[in-house]
């Protein structure tokens, strides 16, 4: 807003305002606008009582305002993100994905003895948690818990499978040999 256009056109005022604008280049944008408006109004009020201002008056008013560097030094520097004054730090939003991953991992462990349900659940939980771990809002602790539960469950499942296969081999090996003996021996009798 330029309430006193006659003042703005005085070369010294014009140069002063241009210098101030340049000096405020690194300042917070809202503060810069407020400062420029404030100083412009100040000049308008001090010099704008009708007719073009006398150069001597302009010099006096500008001297009272002081060097533009002194004004700019008082302004807050611009920040990459506008600071929220007085507001508490925003609480992290509840992270449902990590919660779902954890619940799925626990559910997989609960139905451990139904492998065709528990294995897909555990794999799903593991993949979800591992992928989600990279997203910015992720609750890392929860993701790691889901990964730990799912991994432990899958390892146990693998151990159980190995154990069963081993059992199968032990019990079936003699079975292969045993029926062979009667088969070969029976006709011999």
């Amino acid at each position: 807003m330029t309430p006193h256009p006659a003042v703005d056109t005085h070369p010294l005022v014009h140069a002063y305002l241009a210098d101030l604008e340049r000096a405020l280049a690194g300042a917070d944008p809202r503060e810069r606008a407020d400062v420029l408006d404030g100083v412009r109004e100040h000049l308008g009020e001090a010099l704008g009582d009708g007719g073009p201002p006398e150069t001597a008056d302009v010099r006096r008013v500008l001297a009272d305002l002081g060097p533009v560097e002194a004004i700019a030094a008082q302004a807050t520097r611009a920040e990459p993100q506008p600071p929220v004054v007085g507001a508490p730090a925003a609480a992290p939003p509840d992270d449902t994905t990590s919660m779902i991953a954890l619940i799925t991992a626990i559910a997989a462990a609960a139905v451990f003895f139904i492998p065709f349900v528990s294995i897909p659940l555990a794999v799903g939980a593991l993949v979800t948690a591992a992928v989600h771990l990279r997203s910015p809002g992720a609750r890392k602790g929860r993701c790691w818990a889901a990964i730990a539960v799912a991994t432990a469950m899958l390892l146990l499942m693998a151990l159980a499978a190995l154990f069963l296969v081993a059992q199968e081999t032990i019990t079936s090996d003699p079975g292969v040999v045993e029926p062979a003996t009667p088969l070969t021996s029976v006709p011999a009798e």
């Binding site: 309430p3 300042a27 917070d28 503060e31 407020d34 002081g66 002194a70 008082q74």
Partner: protein, 113 residues
């Protein structure tokens, strides 16, 4: 004024001058030029009138001071600065703290003279 004294003043003004601005707005709202004229009556507080404006901008951002436009008898409307309720409280806190603070500083300077 010497450069050394200037730098002491710059340090001392921090956190103090803004409360002097708010104190001037305590009785009634006023506009920039009037505020600058009142403050610069005390040269240790404000030697460059222009530095008032970044200060007002910060007070406004912190919601300690509000602005409004008012008609003027001599020219275009003026931006008036008014102390907010928050500003009033901040000023009261400052005043209650400032009294013992300046008493202590003076006492230390006198005791150690």
């Amino acid at each position: 004024m010497s450069t050394a004294a200037d730098s002491v003043l710059t340090q001392l003004r921090k956190g103090v001058l803004e409360h002097c601005v708010m104190a001037h707005l305590r009785a009634e709202p006023t506009y920039g030029l009037d505020l600058a004229a009142r403050l610069s009556r005390h040269k240790t507080l404000l030697d460059s009138e222009g530095t008032l404006y970044p200060l007002l901008a910060r007070l406004r951002r912190a919601e300690l001071v509000e602005t409004e436009w008012r008609e003027s008898d001599s020219g275009p409307p003026r931006r008036y600065y008014r102390l907010s309720e928050q500003g009033r409280q901040a000023l009261a806190t400052f005043e209650a703290t400032w009294e013992p603070f300046q008493r202590d500083v003076r006492a230390v300077l006198e005791e150690t003279r």
